[in-house]
Amino acid sequence: MKLTDSREIKADPATVWRAILDPDVLKECIPGCESLTGSIAEGFEAAVVQKVGPVKARFTGVVHLTDIDEGRSVKISGEGKGGAAGFAKGGAVVTLEPIPEGTRLTYDVDASVGGKIAQLGSRIIDGFAKKMADDFFARFQQAVEGPEADEVAATDETDEKKKGWFKRLIGG
């Protein structure tokens, strides 16, 4: 399945780019990610727990960042085996462009599944993949920007806390 969407992130492209290349951000943003180890050069080993319709499984596999166009675009691709559940694989080409509000992040996702997930969960797989992608980039946006304004308003937090944890980390 294929899907395309974009998000406007209130941070400059350089900040967004650094976040994309940060394994801790990746780990935080992949829904259900239990562990992620490795490096950009060698690829990452990942373990992800997900439930697709009636099939719940722990997928183990690799995540690679390729086609890196510094500051502008990168392809994040992964492939995981879920034991009896079958397998899932896919990739997202992420493109950044500067806009007055910060950065427009566009993603083109191409994902496929096989084995029992395909056999039993096909009706819901498109919706599932969309949700996975939406969740990933929503978390990513939050990691970079900080929580939504109205969430923040409901709490009494300092300016420092309003920043996304990634920004805090890099002191941006």
């Binding site: 009896a84 397998f87 496929s112 395909a118 056999q119 039993l120 096909s122």
Partner: protein, 791 residues
Amino acid sequence: MPKDSGIGASSKRREDIRFLTGRGVYTDDITLHGELHAVMVRSTVANGKIVSVGTARAETMPGVQAVFTGADFAAVGGNPAGWLINSRDGTPMREPKRPVLAHGKVRHVGDAYAAVVANTYEQARDAAQAISDDTVIEELPAIVNMAAAVANPANRVHDEIPDNVCYDWGWIEDNRAKVDAAIKSAPHVTTLELVNNRLVPNAMEPRASIGEYFPGTGDYKLTTTSQNPHLTRLLVAAFVLGIPENKLTVVAPDVGGGFGSKIYHYGEEALVLAAAKKLHRPVRWTAERSESFLSDAHGRDHETKIELASDLEGNFIAIRTTTLANVGAYLSNFSTVTPTFLHGTLMAGPYKVPNVYVNVKTVFTNTAPVDAYRGAGRPEATYSIERVVDKMCRELNLDPFEVRRKNFLTTDMFPYTTPVGLVYDTGNYQATLEKAVQLADVAGFEKRAAASRAKGRLRGMGLSTWIEACGIAPSHLVGILGARVGLYDAATVRVNATGNLSVMVGAHSHGQGHETVFAQIVSSKLGVPESSVEIVHGDTSKIPFGMGSYGSRSLAVCGVAMDKALDKIIAKGKKIAAHMLEAAEGDITFADGKFSVAGTDKAKTFGEIAFSAYVPHNYPLETLEPGLEETAFYDPANFTYPAGAYICEVEVDPDTGRVEVASFTCADDFGNVMNPMIVEGQVHGGVGQGIGQALLENAHYDENGQLLTGSYMDYAMPRADDVPFYTVDHSCSTPCTHNPLGVKGCGEAGAIGSPPAVVNAVIDALHRAGHKIDHIDMPVSPSRVWSAMNA
């Protein structure tokens, strides 16, 4: 008055007592001392190179007795195709080896490349999962779409077959130029492109097999879900494993439905036998439902372009078809004949159409094998013809009933040689059509349509006048056409000393009711009660070499073999009676269970003759052997040609596109009917499957070769509320002219004749409501109907 027993009676199905009370004994019900459990390891990708099969961890797991991979079977034979088809240019079809376990490459999702045998099912399953996890398969681009498979020679299902084509068949090649010319010069040509949707057989009982090996004697036994145990024995013993036939017994006990899918020999049968031999313990395997979806032979899957040439009054001039037929990844046993001789030879229908030419390209794809499924080729032919005739009527503004009447073969034309090579022996298509018109109350349609409109529904009526060729088959003819087996059948009638009978038949009953019907025939013929006749089937150590049940052949071939064996029993009985009654053999008559001297009251009962044959104290031993047991083989002279007319009415909900079958009327000619209730049940089941194909069922592979309709959540089986109460009639009977029972086959008819009736009715409903929609492919689902209406 309906009869209460014997031929023509609606005797209750004796097998239903055990089936309906849970006392049937199916393969999976059998438990053996010391048995082990096999689980297959199946590919999750559609096309892949096997880099390494990871067996090491599995071999050390608890309870694991043995692990098998493709390498273990590389030296034994492959599962053969039962029919050689030649291409138009005379070259033989391409026959890739179909191994017990995939070796080197996997070719469809569900293709088994390893197997585990362990003490318990759970242990075997865990170890199978470990193998799946530890195996490296390099995924290759899947070949799913037939047109792309043919057009793209670089992507191959089998490396040695460059264009993925098994054969390019023309029937009849000599007709081709004449048909082309007739179509070119015809006043009108109707063209229709359609898909005959792929179906999963969905027998209620999944496939299961138990292998046994007896080291003391070197004998093997295979208990398996088969429609034809002798054929399975021949295939697994002689072709695959190289076991002498005399050392293997194959038993098919109660079998819960087959619909074609259990005709074929499958790799699991060879696997359990090989494993039993290696381990000296029984090895069992039962498919999960998920495995059935992935690995049972599927049905249909044709893409066809049909052209019907006619004059402007609707008189047919020529039919030409071009079909791509999907055979899947490997050649299942009858996969090559199904889209050819079981399809192309029916393309004249019940009509006077002088010119017919059929072209079929059968294509390998990375999908499960496709083979015969209830109707097998004939539903595809009937659907193409009856849909294009319907479209022609609309294009020329002609009445579909009148067009059929005008083009039907008439009763004075039989025997009739069609332009596609069959000889129809008898029929009366006018009679079944008029009967259906009357039973369906065609005259009252407008009134019903108005009532439907009043409640916001669009009503339509569809007609299908079908014919099929079944009771397969004359061995001489099919041999010329490429069959690698004969298609006779056999029966042994053993009269026991006490006068009751054991009848061993080559046909196999997996729901049809043979145990009841065959006993009815014996009862009528010998004048004995049905209850004194036992029908024995399904065990190669007990039954003569028959070819089993498929192609609506059980009664028309095996039933006739039994009838001939009964003739021999009566002939011998007359000899015994002549001796006992001190009369000339020629003066003995047999009727109502008594051998009598003509013109006298001297008689011996059947029981007395039987007793005498086994206690031959007063017996012509010098000229006659004792005992009363006879075997007959019967090879039919021709196919039988059942035919009929189906009228379907539907209501379409214009808001949702949902189609409801409002009524379904069948007027069939099955020749002489042995048990009307069972025949009606067969028609109900067949039409139910046809409605399923027309409205609901579809086996869908995505572009990666993943089966997306792999469970009952996504594969829509017809349920009770999807089918109407049927009106079924078989009074318009023209008995088959070449078998002594005058019977034709009835098992597949419903599935053959019904899909076009349903689809024609939907198109009719839409046209009546002003939607100029020529065609909607099956399954005619709510979304397809709604989309067509709102395009």
